[in-house]
Amino acid sequence: MALFGQRRPFSIRRLPGFTMIAITCFVLLYTPIVTLVVYSFNAGKYIAIWEGFSLQWYVAAWNNAAVQDATIRSLVLAALASLFATTLATMAALGTTRVKPFRGLTAIYAMINQPLMVPEIVTAVALLILFAVIKVATGVQGLYYLVAAHTAFCIPFAYLPIRARLEGMDLTLETAAADLYATPWQTFRRVTLPLLFPGILAGAMLAFVISLDDVVITEFVKSAGQETLPTYMLGQLRRVITPEINAISTALLAISIIVVSLFFVITRKPS
């Protein structure tokens, strides 16, 4: 009896070894990230030898003109792309939900989700060619190209949470508004939009993070002197790496984690 008492009770859900692999998996998933963050506070200039706590690499990154420039560009780009993508995605979501399936609806879905299916490198190359032609033909330079490219691949990310929110929304309030002689615009402005707002906010946040993190398409589309933070980092990785890169990475990680955590709070279903 004592012998059996020491054994774990038989559970139909348990499979031997699975828990250990899962825990290992979580540890392996977080070890590199934690290491990266820890060494951003290293006083020494090597990444693997700890020489004491210091914020010098954050100061160095903050005072680095190239980093400042890239940070501002990244933030402006992400804000613009997220604004445009969310506006377009909201309209598309209003158009494609709560309507009887019609011919062409599948085509619209496929078109909206297309950036998720085509390898990024192929889109990047395609945009490189297109924009090269346009630049030669019109002579227009500037951030427009990056904004257009980022807006396009952010649309599906903004669209998904907005559509999910719309599909879960109750129609009765809108019907009630219409019954009380609200015009369609008033109903939309005063009822639909406020109800939809958490979805729109969530979509905008995802679009912002996706734009902020993009490397491949930006690397191909950018003109000379249009580095964003990720493309700047990619260029630096070819040189001697100092913990300054860790500091920049940690800052970017922090932004992503904060935005994504807020996203989870917003989209969580009230239980």
Binding site: T35, L36, I112, I121, A152, S256
Partner: protein, 309 residues
């Protein structure tokens, strides 16, 4: 009789109006997507059939040379044909690495998803959140994190040296192994999430029934759990395989110049290689492989939903 047709006519008109409204609302998004995502793919196709210009770009003259070069190479001296070993090797390496990455993410992801799905309902969201956080953080940063762990002056080598186990660092970086470790790391969440989605719906009464009928744990896993979560396995595999095949950042950072994958070969043609036509042809090749895999996936999903009915 007359009023009835008039009524149905009005319903039809109302339907048509709604459909038109759907198209109008979707039009701006579709326009931007066509201009900056789908449309340019057509230009790539056109470019793959043109002659490359000397300093990048193309000459507007039809040529199938680029497609020819994807597979064959002509000897510069005697003009004999042979297979383009370099291209085929990179293509083969890309497929192999993407496939192995899919297998390793499955090996780690399956137990992890199962673990999350069998936690008490209140804990599941926390575990799931822990998986999702890396998924939404920068791929370049995660690749860089792996670089710091496995490079010669990295954590593993420094640790082993300090422990006196090795004198010389073990060269792990700039190899296919490094690319595989990095890609398994960055794409793991893409495997776990769809697997979890199908395991969450797993009916454990079936598992219990199997045990009652004296099935071993292995038999339960093989005959009950795996068949039931197969849609998740297929979806996860596709979600990992597709971006892994077209990967650019991870092989560039961890593979170095010699261990290229298809994405890097394409980049090379638009950069130092200055052969945009060949780059375009290689891009279409990559796109075609991805589309075939996705088509296979859609078929598998359809078959599964038909089987359920």
């Amino acid at each position: 009789m007359l009023t009835e047709t008039a009524g149905s006519g009005r319903v039809e008109a109302e339907e048509r109006r709604k459909v038109r409204r759907s198209w109008l609302l979707s039009a701006p998004a579709l326009t931007v997507l066509f201009m900056a995502a789908s449309g340019p793919l057509l230009i790539v196709l056109v470019y793959s059939f043109l002659e490359p210009a000397e300093y990048g770009g193309v000459v507007w003259k039809f040529s199938d040379e680029a497609w020819f070069k994807v597979v064959f190479q002509r000897d510069i001296f005697d003009g004999t044909l042979s297979f383009a070993d370099a291209h085929l090797m990179i293509l083969w390496r890309s497929v192999r690495i993407a496939f192995l990455t899919t297998l390793t993410t499955l090996a780690f992801g399956f137990p992890t998803a199962y673990f999350i799905a069998t936690r008490p309902a209140s804990d599941r969201n926390i575990w799931l959140f822990l998986i999702t956080i890396p998924f939404w953080t920068n791929l370049l940063i995660r690749t860089f994190a792996i670089l710091e762990v496995i490079r010669n002056e990295g954590i593993i080598n420094t640790g082993l040296k300090l422990a006196g186990i090795i004198d010389q660092p073990i060269q792990m970086l700039y190899s296919d192994f490094a690319i595989m470790v990095g890609m398994t790391y960055v794409y793991l969440p893409l495997m776990v999430l769809p697997l979890y989605a199908s395991m969450e719906r797993l009916d454990f009464r079936l598992v219990e029934a199997a045990y009652d009928l004296y099935a071993s744990r292995l038999a339960v896993l093989r005959r009950i759990i795996v068949p039931l979560v197969k849609p998740g396995i297929v979806a996860g595999s596709i979600l990992v395989f597709v971006p892994a095949l077209g990967a650019y950042v991870t092989p560039r950072v961890l593979g170095g110049g010699k261990n290229m994958m298809l994405g890097n070969l394409i980049e090379l043609q638009f950069g130092a290689g200055r052969n945009w036509s060949l780059g375009a042809a290689l891009s279409i090749t990559l796109l075609a492989i991805v589309m075939i895999v996705l088509l296979f996936y859609v078929r598998a999903v359809q078959r599964a939903s038909e089987a359920r009915q």
